[in-house]
Symmetry: C2
Subunit: 434 residues, 2 copies
């Protein structure tokens, strides 16, 4: 049993142990304006109500800033900086602790408990941050290699630049949605006959709709045009991590992406989990990523503590007939570049960042067949099928399929630091006539 | 002489004739909070002051919305929609008109003139819109062809998809800056020896810093996730147009861009002109673009009025020694796809838009040598030099070079509809030690 225990009744298998305390944006039927909360067991601790009713009475440093908990995004709280995130999270841990140092603040304050503890199941979750810019990287080495083998063979699987820099592209911020938002199958241009000499596109719904298992990392500290973030400073710019599903239409992508990269094949929806797990909560699970056998340039050379995380990741698919199958398990250690490296690279030429900007890791795959983070890899681009529970099979996603990513650090009862779920269900394409 | 004349003294060669009335965001030493203005001749008509002092007394429809003129961006005004843009612009024309229908509103109101007419030279210009997402297209056919010839030869200059869809990529909204903002030469990874068998990058400042002559178009109507904007509806979603310089680091781009497209080679700065010329002001200059000899799919097929514009574009370079040379002249008709086509394509898979989102046209080049919109084309990627005034030469930009784009519709004295300037000066790269 974990040494820290709460006076609140928390399922020992909960992702939201007292060791976690991820931040999110909730609304309820009684309080329909979205505002800040922290997840603890089966409850959302409503920090708007908590602050209003003097829950922070023993933490004077936060008092001039308490309005951040009434805002409809976490941007205001994030902008207070990592030292403040730490003291707020540790204070919340202390008031949730059984026989903690401030029993009057919360444990013995029934009125505050009634006002601020909401069953998570009655909370509507919102996008946690206002995202001005979203960038998606490609740092999952095994994924990049597997996809490269599919399209170029094993000799040229990785492009020459791949191990020298975290390859990435600017994503579409407006299409990032919170877990649970339905995803419509996109229409677009695809090739009816991709191997024909003359390339003639048709208008069609995507027939190769795929997932991408990723992490997302939010930035909490702005940087100015022309001012690079040094790699040693980068960790202070990172707020927290979410699960991310970068839905992808492989047939639209194959036709559109040369020479400027993925566009409509990605911008119809990117789903993130609603609770942002703070960097401090992840620190005990810091780990090495994939060793880079290429010497990176000094601006990417990390000298500080480990900057990957041992997060167990899992993807399940629930079909329209109700069968749920696990279709992949891997670990977030399968990344070649870390978020500090991504931020250092992204800003080295002077690109500015705002609080709330999102970095995606790229698809995370392990080396074995059961560890592949997208269907493109699992089915060799639709050449084979994967078998699901109930005898169903899939090459790519069908309408009505619901994909759920989960992620969790640790295995000890009562001490899990998890992400909850990142889920979305595929709806039929829009019918369009001209 | 143009039929419409103002009681205000306006230089007949001014870009900001009474036929134009572009919208921008200004501040002054006396009113340091950025707010909305309209350019007329050598004046900024301060709409915050104009509205506060009852300048809109004869236009009741705008009165419930007048707070949009006190906002620090044009997003609020843009969101009122094209019919409202039209009545506001026409009303402002009418009060600026000599012997107009409402002489008491402005022509005879000295107090309001004193409060609302500010010499443009004392105004600080700000980014006109809050930009949540920026997309840059590649719709300049001659540019795409010329660049394709450089890298792949004339047989394969255009990719198979090029004429079927407006190729584009997601840009970086945070790096869009207003005209006049200095641009630091970016550092990054480049290949010391690009033709070597083994590709080894070095850390360096860019040695191939370039411009891209483009138009930008702002969106004024939101669209939701999963809901395509039909091409017939697209013009109602467009607010107005600016000049755009998509600064590009060609050496960083060459190394980084495969397979996900341009990234740090573009996100160190994109400059736009400060005054947004409304679509209504451009309508008299509607023109055909480049004829597409490929039949596009129905969702891209425009049936309405012409949707390109006859805008004369010009690029000049002023060196550190003060010599100014024209380095390119062309017309905005040199585009294969129009902004309505770009928006229809961008949303066909369901990508959502917010008010203020920016679309870049891609580099605009004509067919002749004097009409090329970037140095990459003009110097065959640095193989030749261009000659400047004063005997200077350039392959790419040097520190201290200032590049200025101008654009104007029409030639008639007193009736020009111009964009003013889009300018930026190159500062030395940041010195970084590790």
């Amino acid at each position: 049993m974990a040494p820290l225990a709460s006076w609140l009744d928390i399922d020992p298998k909960s992702h939201f142990s007292i060791y976690n305390l991820p931040f999110g944006i909730i609304s309820t039927s009684g309080e329909s304006t979205p505002h800040v909360a922290v997840a603890i067991g089966d409850y959302a601790l409503d920090l708007h109500a908590f602050a209003q009713q003097n829950g922070f009475s023993a933490l004077s440093i936060i008092q001039p800033h308490q309005q951040v908990f009434s805002q409809p995004t976490l941007n205001g709280f994030a902008a207070l900086g990592r030292p403040m995130h730490r003291v707020v999270r540790e204070y919340l841990q202390s008031v949730l602790l059984k026989d903690g140092p401030f029993p009057d603040a919360f444990e013995k304050n029934k009125q505050l408990q009634k006002a601020a503890l909401k069953p998570i199941e009655i909370c509507k979750m919102h996008l946690p941050m206002f995202i001005n810019d979203y960038t998606d990287f490609y740092a999952g080495l095994n994924h990049a290699y597997n996809v490269g083998v599919l399209f170029r063979g094993p000799q040229n699987a990785l492009q020459p630049n791949y191990k020298h820099l975290p390859v990435g592209y600017h994503g579409r911020a407006s299409s990032v949605v919170v877990s649970g938002t339905p995803i419509k199958r996109p229409n677009g241009q695809i090739l009816a006959n991709p191997t024909a000499e003359v390339k003639e596109p048709i208008f069609s719904e995507s027939k190769k709709l795929d997932i991408e298992l990723e992490l997302g990392c939010f930035v909490c500290k702005p940087s100015s045009l022309g001012d690079p973030v040094r790699i040693a400073d980068a960790p202070q710019h990172l707020f927290g991590i979410v699960l991310l599903n970068d839905w992808s239409a492989r047939d639209i992508q194959a036709w559109e992406y040369v020479p400027l990269g993925p566009f409509n094949s990605k911008n119809f929806g990117t789903t993130i989990s609603p609770w942002v797990v703070l960097m401090d909560a992840l620190e005990p699970f810091a780990a090495d990523g994939i060793t880079n056998d290429t010497q990176v340039l000094p601006y990417l050379n990390e000298k500080g503590p480990k900057s990957h995380y041992s997060i167990d990741l899992s993807v399940s698919l629930t079909t329209a007939s109700g069968n749920t199958s696990n279709i992949g398990k891997t670990t977030a250690k399968n990344l070649l570049f870390s978020f500090p490296q991504m931020l250092a690279h992204h800003t080295i030429g002077g690109c500015p960042f705002n609080v709330g900007d999102l970095l995606g890791s790229g698809t995370i795959s392990g080396e074995s067949k059961s560890e592949k983070g997208c269907l493109l890899e699992q089915t060799d681009n639709g050449k084979t099928e994967i078998s699901l529970e109930g005898g169903e099979k899939r090459k790519f996603l069908e309408n009505g399929d619901q994909v759920t990513i989960t992620g969790c650090c640790g295995t000890e009862d009562g001490a899990l630091v998890g992400f909850g779920e990142c889920t979305g269900k595929i709806e039929p394409a829009v019918k369009i006539s001209f």
